[in-house]
């Protein structure tokens, strides 16, 4: 063999050594047209008793509220795709529910059975409704391809759940969620306490960006609370965006009454302090309207006004830390008796997801779909350490459960019990959280920066003996993220 031929052969081998693995990883990342969440990734029992998945378990379709109970709140929401006019006059393209975006605010009293019928009139990709923050029965969780099929044009689906906890929640589509939530297929859900709080004005402030317009309740104009000076007001701020939004108050002090639909115990009055509200998160602020007026600033681009006009203020330098806010209180379970300890390590590396090259998020070192399936048995107390070494912040959302924050970067929580379902995990930080596995089903545990979820940043919590008949893809074209 001549020297030149050897050289060419070496060059070909070197080329194959580069392109071969690339081709292999590309091929390996391709997904079938339909696949079940149950066969995805690998089982992770968190170091607890082994959890077995038997064929023929209980399908998620059976995990429903009492079918014989009459609904106390009965709503029909009709979803449409198209252009619509914001309350402040701008015309945008997106999605509406009953002709508006955000859709109607649904209000229920704690203990009531809420029934919502979703009718898809003209959303070509199909739609669902997920009840963000509400521990609904699994069949009503609204995740396309996991708990139901996406509702096609002309179809409908009825959600039924008991509103078991008073608080601020929201609902949104969980079919192609990164596009449909962005386009406005969402609304607020408020569960009022059984006895109304006396002498308090209640105001919902749902924040969303429509094609660059920062809005509160669908209007780019500041929302005015109908309350006179001296009146106590609860402002329920809902962040429906993909990134965190700082919230602060100009002209008044305030208290954080609730976080993610759970009341804060002993909230102290604060002033000139901002609270970072994660994507998907909610916070109830309590304040008394001063004679000189006040403004709740939402991200600096949207606002709620109370009383006489007051000038906007820039974001204060101080940030409220929920880890030490409020006063401690007994919690209904002992996190130290956890039988499982899961790890949710977030990182980032180049690779292929669904045949697409790019820089993708990894969970415990694996790219989608090779992600962990966190396995539990009903009644388990579980802990999870969520660590973020990906260089970017992530708002982590577990469906169907609320998490109790135990510690951040090893520093124990010392304030009110911090219950959350939408937890911002900044780059370089880690959180220890705990939860009780008391809601059987298959539950998404994902980043609520929805394009991140669409890029594969989604794992699941699965109960022993539960199965799903639904598939990702398939005839209903289920694409949950």
């Amino acid at each position: 063999m001549t020297r030149s031929r050897i050289r060419t052969a070496v060059a070909l081998v070197a080329t194959a050594a580069i392109l071969g693995p690339l081709g292999y990883f590309w091929q390996a990342s391709l997904l079938p047209d339909a696949y079940s969440m149950m066969s995805m990734g690998y089982l992770d029992d968190g170091g607890g008793p082994a959890v077995h998945q038997h064929a023929g378990g209980v399908p998620v379709t059976q995990l429903r509220a009492d079918p014989d109970r009459r609904p106390d709140v009965d709503v029909t929401l009709t979803a449409r795709k198209g252009s619509f006019t914001l309350a402040s006059g701008q015309k945008v393209d997106g999605y509406t529910l009953n002709g508006t975006s955000p859709g109607p605010t649904i209000r229920a009293k704690v203990g009531q059975l809420v029934q919502v019928r979703l009718v898809n009139e003209s959303v070509p990709d199909g739609a669902t409704l997920h009840w963000h923050g509400v521990d609904v029965p699994n069949a009503d969780d609204g995740v396309a391809g996991v708990t139901q099929d996406a509702v096609g044009v002309g179809g409908s689906f009825t959600y039924r759940f008991v509103a078991d906890r008073a608080g601020t929640f929201w609902y949104h589509s969980h079919q192609i969620s990164h596009e449909q939530v962005r386009g406005g297929l969402l609304g607020a859900l408020v569960v009022d306490p059984a006895k109304p709080v006396p002498d308090e004005t209640d105001f919902v402030a749902l924040m969303h960006q429509y094609r660059g317009y920062s809005t509160v309740n669908g209007s780019s104009e500041p929302a005015a609370v109908p309350a006179e000076p001296g009146r106590k007001v609860r402002v329920r701020v809902i962040n429906t965006e993909n990134g965190l939004v700082p919230v602060w108050v100009s002209g008044a002090s305030f208290r954080v009454l609730a976080v993610d639909g759970s009341e804060v115990n002993g909230p102290a009055e604060v002033r000139d302090t901002a609270l970072n509200l994660p994507a998907g998160g909610r916070v109830d602020l309590g304040l008394t309207v001063p004679a000189t007026g006040a403004r709740v600033e939402i991200g600096g681009a949207a606002a709620v006004t109370l009383g006489p006009a007051v000038a906007a203020s820039p974001r204060p330098g101080a940030t409220l830390d929920l880890l030490s806010y409020g006063t401690p209180q007994a919690v209904p379970f002992d996190p130290d008796r956890a039988v499982r300890h899961f790890k949710y390590d977030i990182n980032r590396r180049p690779g292929f997801v669904r045949g697409r090259p790019g820089l993708f998020w990894t969970i415990n070192g694996h790219l989608y779909p090779d992600v962990p399936m966190f396995m539990v048995r009903t009644g388990d107390v579980a802990r999870m350490t969520i660590s973020n070494n990906s260089g970017e912040s992530h708002p982590m959302h577990l469906h169907g459960h609320r998490l109790l924050v135990l510690a951040r970067d090893g520093t124990r929580a010392t304030g009110s019990p911090w219950w959350t379902d939408s937890l911002e995990v900044p780059a370089g930080e880690s959180f220890d959280v705990a939860f009780v596995a008391d809601n059987p089903g298959i539950w998404a545990d994902h980043c609520h920066n929805l394009p991140h979820a669409a890029d594969g940043m989604v794992a699941h919590l699965m109960y022993e003996g539960i199965t799903t008949p639904y598939v990702i893809g398939g005839a209903a074209s289920n694409i949950p993220e």
Binding site: I18, L19, R211, G243, L244, G299, R348, G358, G428
Partner: protein, 150 residues
Amino acid sequence: MKTAYRVLAHSIMILVILQTMVIVWGFFGLFHWIEDGGVMNKAVLDDRDTLNFTEQRGMMLHGIGGMVLVPLVVLAFLIVSFFAKIPGGVAAAGIVVGLVVAQVALGIFAHGVPGLGILHALGAFLIIGAANAADRRAKRVSAPVEVAAR
């Protein structure tokens, strides 16, 4: 193949220059937008579907260029170097690949550690220098030998 090697070396230089141009365009657009009353926060930043100001395209182009286009061209450069028979050509291409890998990593991790941005800027010049050195190596081989006439 030598021509392809040189074309790719030049392409890398041009792309990196464009990368610096579009990102600076983007940042000045951001400052201008804020001057005009625009408000930037994490939610606005993560609304990737909305163009708040024209120059935002510069930031998007920088992202696509840095994470897709430049790595692809650099990969092609390395493969072509195997066949180009330029003395030291593979090593020169390897240096460019190494610098681009480091540059992409710096671009990602600078989001969490902004100080790395200083090295990210320096990295652009190093890549241009390395691509230029590789090109000169190829030029020496492909140029006809000149006999000095006295």
